[in-house]
Symmetry: C2
Subunit: 136 residues, 2 copies
DNA sequence: CTGAATCCAGCCCGATACTG
DNA sequence: CAGTATCGGGCTGGATTCAG
């Protein structure tokens, strides 16, 4: 844990991650994947990366999300300590969501994944096309 | 709607990832998240990081996966070009799965996420506990 | 040993309507 | 404006059984 940043270009050395056997349910990687793996969490985290946003702003920024899912996803993110929720007691009421330090720290590893995805999507699509082509 | 916001603040480098608006379905990050977000893909990728493994070996290494899910997950990974499948025509038949170069390249960003998860799981659990405690 | 096929439970998520 | 409640569909994933 003394080298948080310099592992950028090292060879894969994720040996200690077993997660198998008996206690797979409380595997740390599983916990975070269950969170970012759902449909909207990652998108909302990315949306909040450049500052706090109100509920309605998020809603408009992600047009195809329902109020239900927006509320629920924000709740989960808040519960895990990724986002903070601040209520302004005005009329009409307004609520601001923002990334906590913990949430912001997630942006870094997330960026690695995002960059990888953007860079390799063509290869994935190509592989997918070939696979579907060869398999009737 | 364009993006009138400037990436000031302390945001890392995920500027160009919008994914909102009209074409959210073919957003690259969404594609990869749908893959690694499922229950077994990431675990199997990590399992294959130190060399090819046979079907039965993987099965025994991840005791709580069903044959159905093992086959299905491997198929998806193969389809996306992450793993290669080699059949040895013997009796009884044996099949070996291994990471492709594309799959290996995913190990790097994945490692970042894994490390982050391992390092911050205590904070997450703590936040979760506090949240559940404060909410009746 | 590897894998396909079927049945079935659970939940994720969307649409809608209603409150403060 | 922000959030809750309810209903229902579709997909994920587990158990079992059969086949090459």
């Amino acid at each position: 844990m003394a080298s948080p940043l310099t592992q950028a270009q090292k060879a894969p050395a994720i040996a200690h991650i077993q997660c198998d056997g008996d206690d797979l349910s409380q595997c740390p990687i599983r916990g975070i994947l269950d969170r970012i793996g759902d449909k909207w969490s990652t998108l909302l985290i990315l949306m909040l990366q450049d500052g706090p946003k109100r509920f309605g702003v998020l809603r408009r920024a992600v047009p195809d999300i329902s109020q239900r899912m927006l509320t629920q996803t924000l709740r989960n993110l808040q519960r895990d300590g990724f986002v903070a929720r601040q209520v302004f007691d005005t009329v009409p009421p307004s609520v601001e969501y923002s990334l906590t330090p913990l949430g912001e720290s997630l942006l870094l590893p997330l960026a690695g994944l995002v960059d990888w995805a953007a860079m390799n999507q063509p290869a994935i699509l190509k592989a997918r096309g070939q696979f579907d082509e060869e398999r009737p």
